[in-house]
């Protein structure tokens, strides 16, 4: 259980903003921080990991105090047993993928974990390459493996998938689910992608200007609990057609483009780039092998 009660004044651009948090995250949960840029998501990860300190408050993890402003307790980042994947991956450019993993191994710890992670993350073929020879998805997998070498209890992911193309993204989401369960992690993901959030996480915290404005089950949050569809997907609007009497909206769901018919009056609600939920209530979907 991670309990975070703290305040910190942040400076984003030339604006001052107060990050004011009261969050608790259950052990083993996969949660997402969602919200616009500069709303305090990454700062919260940095506070949990100990890379920065708050102005006032406390951080408790499994009833151990990690940080307490008044009691002057501040557990060092390395002692917090956290795996952290940076947005820019932060792989060490002077080391090969394997050396990156090896460097992360704590003293006297068994090397077996490295071999295990190489197998899970499919890194065998790229072990001897340096980071600038790796593709985005490969870097990501190495960064993820490196974050897990010290067998952390908590995994923090700062928009790790945002720079990847769709196919890579979907693949890495599966890796994330796999390791989250295998290592019994408590995982916190920063993400802007609604589909990704619904697929991966059990709980979402929505940030706005340093405060949590909503939290709860991602499906309920993003569909406002309005539909009880039997069958639903999230996607992104890529094109809107005005026909004579109806509107047609093309939605990208995963790698497929789906056309959805709607009323002309409804059309105004949508614009290209919107995240939408496509669902069906009345019909039974057909399923067949391909």
């Amino acid at each position: 259980m991670i309990e975070l009660k703290l305040q910190k004044s942040l400076r984003s651009g030339d604006q001052e903003m107060l990050l004011d948090l009261d969050i608790s995250i259950k052990k083993g949960e996969f949660v997402t921080f969602y919200g616009e840029s500069g709303s305090g998501k990454t700062s919260t990860l940095r506070l949990i990991s100990g890379l920065v300190e708050g102005d006032s408050g406390t951080i408790f993890v499994d009833n151990d105090c990690w940080w307490d402003m008044n009691a002057k307790i501040n557990l060092k980042p390395a002692k917090r047993k956290i795996g952290y994947v940076f947005q820019d991956y932060a792989l060490f450019p002077n080391m090969t993928a394997y050396e990156n993993l090896e460097f992360a191994l704590p003293k006297y710890q068994d090397k077996a974990i490295i071999d295990e992670l190489i197998a899970i993350m499919d890194l065998k073929d790229i072990l001897n390459l340096k980071p600038d020879m790796l593709s985005g998805g490969q870097k990501q997998r190495v960064a993820l493996a490196r974050a897990l070498v010290s067998k952390p209890k908590i995994l923090l992911l700062d928009e790790p998938l945002s720079a990847l193309d769709n196919i890579m993204r979907l693949k890495l989401q599966d890796y994330l689910i796999k390791i989250h369960h295998k290592y019994h992690l408590t995982t916190i993901l920063v993400s802007h992608d609604v589909g990704e959030i619904i697929k991966l996480s059990q709980k979402v915290f929505e940030f706005q200007k340093g405060k949590i404005i909503r939290s709860g089950n991602p499906k309920e949050i993003f569909t406002h609990g309005k539909t009880s569809a039997k069958f639903q997907f999230t996607g992104e609007v890529i094109e809107i057609f005005h026909e004579k009497v109806i509107g047609i909206i093309s939605v990208l769901i995963g790698q497929d483009i789906v056309k959805v018919v709607c009323d002309l009056s409804e059309l105004e609600e949508f614009k290209v780039g919107d995240k939408v939920m496509v669902g069906s209530k009345a019909f039974n979907p057909i399923i067949q092998k391909i």
Binding site: S49, L51, P77, A78, K79, I82, Y84, F86, Q87, D88, A90, F92, P93, N94, F103, A104, P106, R146, S150
Partner: protein, 223 residues
């Protein structure tokens, strides 16, 4: 041609470069991470030799090192070291004079490294020394090579400071740049010419190495 002044020049440049390399790494590292208020003061002091006439520096060092003065007398009485008109004195003066050439490239290199690398290392439980030697320095190899080569080249080209505090003692403080001056004074133009040509070639080679590295032509050796 007498090779001794040239050998002395190379010896001075080599020793100065080695001493400065050891000193500049902690200093540059501190400058690259500190948020201290005295940072601009230290940066200014480090860069002063870039703009100060070498004779000014040489003049004050001469006064400070002179056995007639408190500091010089103390050095001589307690340690038996006399810094004026000696090779040790030349090394010390060269170190001060060439300090910015070593510190600035290394500091710039260290400041240019993404802070997430340092943060990743600290999350992996590495202390600052480990991070410096295993992560930071290996990733600024070309800055380090630039710093080393420029320091070496700059020390080879030193004249004013050396003349002020070293004098012109053959085999001890008479480096190549002084020898050129000396030969011209005694109207030995052909000898002055020979020393000069060697210095030109030496400077060309060292600077050429820097530009080859910075232009990425020697990439496979620097990473």
């Amino acid at each position: 041609m007498n090779w001794i002044p040239l050998i002395l020049t190379l010896k001075l440049a080599l020793v100065t470069t080695l001493v400065l390399f050891v000193l500049a790494i902690p200093l540059s590292y501190w400058l690259s991470i500190t948020k201290s208020k005295i940072k601009p003061v230290i940066e200014t002091l480090v860069s002063m030799p870039l703009v100060l006439p070498p004779t000014v520096l040489g003049f004050y060092l001469l006064l400070a090192f002179s056995p007639q003065n408190v500091f010089g007398a103390w050095l001589e009485n307690w340690f038996g070291i006399r810094l004026v008109f000696s090779f040790t004195g030349l090394v010390l003066a060269s170190c001060i004079y060439s300090l910015p050439f070593m510190v600035q490239p290394i500091q710039a290199g260290l400041s240019g490294i993404s802070s997430s690398l340092t943060e990743a290392a600290s999350l992996l439980g590495k202390n600052r020394l480990n991070t410096l030697f295993y992560i930071l320095l290996p990733n600024i190899k070309s800055s380090i090579i630039t710093a080393v080569v420029l320091t070496f080249a700059h020390t080879v080209g030193e004249f004013g400071v050396v003349l002020m505090i070293g004098g012109n003692i053959p085999g001890k403080t008479k480096v190549a740049s002084i020898a050129v001056y000396d030969e011209v004074e005694s109207l030995n133009y052909s000898l002055a010419n020979q020393y000069s040509i060697v210095l030109i070639i030496l400077s060309f080679i060292t600077l050429f190495i820097v530009y080859m590295i910075n232009g990425g032509h020697l990439k496979r050796f620097t990473r």
